[in-house]
């Protein structure tokens, strides 16, 4: 037996108890969902980029379009994606549940994603998260009661030279210092995405 006295795991570790329980949860049915005509036209354009018999290649795009429309992917949205892509709802759920950028429950208007991987962590990302938690009053994974902000810790965003990076919806807010957390939140409240000062938005002005 490979687990013997010399190889025992710590009795206080909760790993074994929690890990082997399935964490699968069904998506909420959500409100009725139908793609807008504009979204369907965009989707058809994207489908034309792939061979006609490979329509499934556009599934990520179809899910993005549904998410842009509804903010998250409900079971009804999955059904609409399946109809548009001509696959099963299970195919859609399979994909939605794999990729981190698809939300299976509603998120805030501003989704703050603090990169927690090594280069950002070496530059204080843990403290950025702690400050944002304090300012927003929520833990990572939660959304504020007014539906304005969600906070997530995410894996390497690929901007390690401008660490720590905070993804804000589809943008980056770079070189974030812990002490600037309140300014970031206030700026978003007051000006939306225009309140961001991430360097990639300003490269042409240099």
């Amino acid at each position: 037996m490979w687990i013997d006295d010399t190889m025992s795991f710590h009795p206080l570790m909760d790993y074994g108890r929690a890990h082997h329980q399935s964490s699968r949860s069904m998506a909420d049915e959500g409100p009725a969902f139908e793609y807008t005509a504009e979204a369907l036209a965009t989707l058809e354009d994207i489908c034309s980029r792939y061979p006609a018999e490979q329509r499934k290649s556009a599934i990520l795009a179809a899910i993005y379009l549904a998410q842009r429309q509804q903010g998250y992917i409900s079971r009804n949205a999955m059904k609409a994606v399946a109809a548009a892509i001509r696959c099963t709802t299970a195919d859609v759920e399979d994909v939605v549940s794999f990729y981190t950028m698809f939300y299976q429950r509603p998120v805030g208007r501003h989704v703050l994603q603090v990169c927690r991987t090594l280069s950002c962590a070496l530059n204080g990302a843990e403290r950025v998260t702690a400050e944002l938690q304090a300012v927003l009053g929520i833990a990572p994974g939660q959304t504020t009661a007014d539906g304005e902000f969600s906070l997530f810790e995410v894996e390497c965003l690929g901007a390690c030279d401008r660490a720590p990076v905070v993804g804000v919806n589809d943008h980056w807010h770079e070189c974030q210092k812990p002490e600037d957390a309140r300014a970031l939140v206030d700026g978003l409240k007051a000006h939306g995405a225009a309140g961001l000062t991430g360097c990639h938005l300003h490269v042409e002005k240099a």
């Binding site: 794999f98 990729y99 950028m101 894996e155 390497c156 690929g158 490269v203």
Partner: protein, 434 residues
């Protein structure tokens, strides 16, 4: 050396089609289209260009393997899923020099007989994708992409395909799976993509930086390219410096440059922040073994870094100073690997989580001395036992830190606490349930 890939990254509007054509852009494509596909492959082979994504495999050889006799369509997939922690060079190329990438894609398509190239870009690079799409439209309108390019009868399309957040999609067969609309999970190899890749068709998957090197090779010749660097490590290279350096950023240099120069030279990293002591360097993205301060006088080339027992990988150089706790660093990285494991192979899916839990326990001061050997045991049971290199990547941070900093692990266990709680870390942290 004059910069080859990034001369205009800071020039206003340096990314536009107008600017690119004024610099002689798309002339390499014209030159390549006048050659036979085999001649293009031979030139790239002669240049010795090695893949910039991590493995360093010769690009010309990869193209030669593509089954040209197959009646099926051929595909170029550009791997722009830059996700290796510490790596951010492709993002710069795409945002600031997109036409160089398009030109590389088109020449690659000509070389392997493909009519379509897909640029698989990671979902988090949405603002980069907007640049790519806008510039693609301009190149298409100008006739560089589309039907009958330069009147040669060569048809070629380039499409951008957006991923949705999966580190594993950077593995070439997982990238293909994702492009096909499935979970990004690797395939059993063989068959390799050159025989059966996208939609079961012959496919070459090349990194962004690799493809960006192709136009200058066609323009200046393979000898010029090979002569830029040490033997078998030719050409310009982009290095990504991050962590505790004074000037983090993307730097272009020939592979003669040493690791020490990259970290300390004022032209590059400029030394350690706060003039603290250097403790450890991860030279090629988070998946490779650590180099110690006395090992830095080596060329930052594929072979140079390999001779020191590590890998150049994606050239993501993560610098850690003396305030960095190595148990914490390993825990940080293993959280990444546990989170990003695609779940297909048991050793990686289960082992990564075990490793992270063990590391967390030691870091919190609740570990036992036996745990250190247990870490090695679990890591060695992942190493080499998975379909793709992810398993090795997950085991490496553990093996390398235990091997080089075992006394730090022992101190954590002995004193029942983290012995190096740096002030840039949070006092206590809550990680979200994942």
């Amino acid at each position: 050396m004059d910069l080859v890939l990034t001369p205009h990254v800071k020039t206003p509007n340096g990314f536009t089609l107008d600017f690119y054509t004024k610099q002689g852009g798309y002339e390499a494509l014209r030159k390549a289209l006048a050659m036979t596909p085999d001649a293009v492959v031979d030139i790239v082979k002669a240049s010795g260009l090695r893949g910039r994504g991590g493995a360093g495999f010769p690009t010309g050889v990869k193209w030669q393997f593509v089954d040209k006799k197959s009646p099926k369509p051929k595909y170029i997939c550009c791997n722009a899923d830059e996700s290796e922690p510490g790596t951010f060079k492709d993002h710069v190329l795409m945002e600031r020099n997109p036409h160089l990438l398009f030109e590389g894609c088109l020449i690659a398509c000509h070389a392997i007989g493909a009519k379509v190239a897909y640029i698989y870009i990671r979902g988090e690079f949405y603002h980069v994708q907007e640049v790519l799409e806008a510039e693609l439209a301009k190149a298409r309108a100008a006739g560089f992409i589309g039907k009958n390019i330069f009147g040669t009868g060569f048809d070629c399309e380039i499409y951008v395909h957006r991923g949705a957040g999966a580190y594993e999609a950077g593995e070439e067969t997982a990238l293909i799976e994702s492009l096909e609309g499935k979970r990004a999970q690797p395939r059993l190899k063989p068959p390799f993509p050159a025989i059966a890749g996208l939609y079961g068709c012959p496919t070459a998957v090349n990194n962004v930086e690799t493809l960006c090197n192709v136009p200058p090779i066609i323009t200046n010749g393979p000898e010029w390219f090979a002569a830029l660097g040490p033997e078998k490590n030719g050409g310009p290279k982009l290095y990504c410096l991050s962590g505790h350096v004074k000037k983090p950023g993307t730097y272009e240099a020939p592979m003669h440059v040493t690791m020490r120069e990259l970290i300390y030279d004022p032209k590059y990293g400029g030394g350690i922040r706060g003039d603290r002591k250097l403790k450890a360097v991860i030279p090629g993205g988070s998946s490779v073994p650590i180099l110690l301060p006395h090992q830095l006088d080596i060329p930052a080339s594929f072979d140079g870094v390999a001779s020191a027992g590590s890998m150049l990988g994606s050239a993501g150089i993560i610098v850690m100073d003396e305030t960095t706790c190595m148990v914490w660093a390993a825990e940080n990285l293993l959280y990444f690997y546990k989170h990003e494991s695609c779940g297909k192979c048991t050793p990686c899916r289960e082992g990564g989580a075990w490793l992270h839990n063990l590391l967390g326990r030691i870091e919190r001061g609740e570990g036992h001395m036996k745990d250190i050997d247990l870490l090695l045991s679990v890591a060695n049971n992942i190493m080499g036992k998975t379909l793709c290199a992810f398993g090795d990547a997950a085991a490496t941070p553990v093996l390398t830190t235990v091997q080089l900093f075992r006394e730090e692990y022992e101190a954590h266990v002995r004193e029942g606490r983290c012995t190096l709680p740096a002030d840039w870390r949070a006092a206590s942290r809550t990680l979200a349930a994942h």
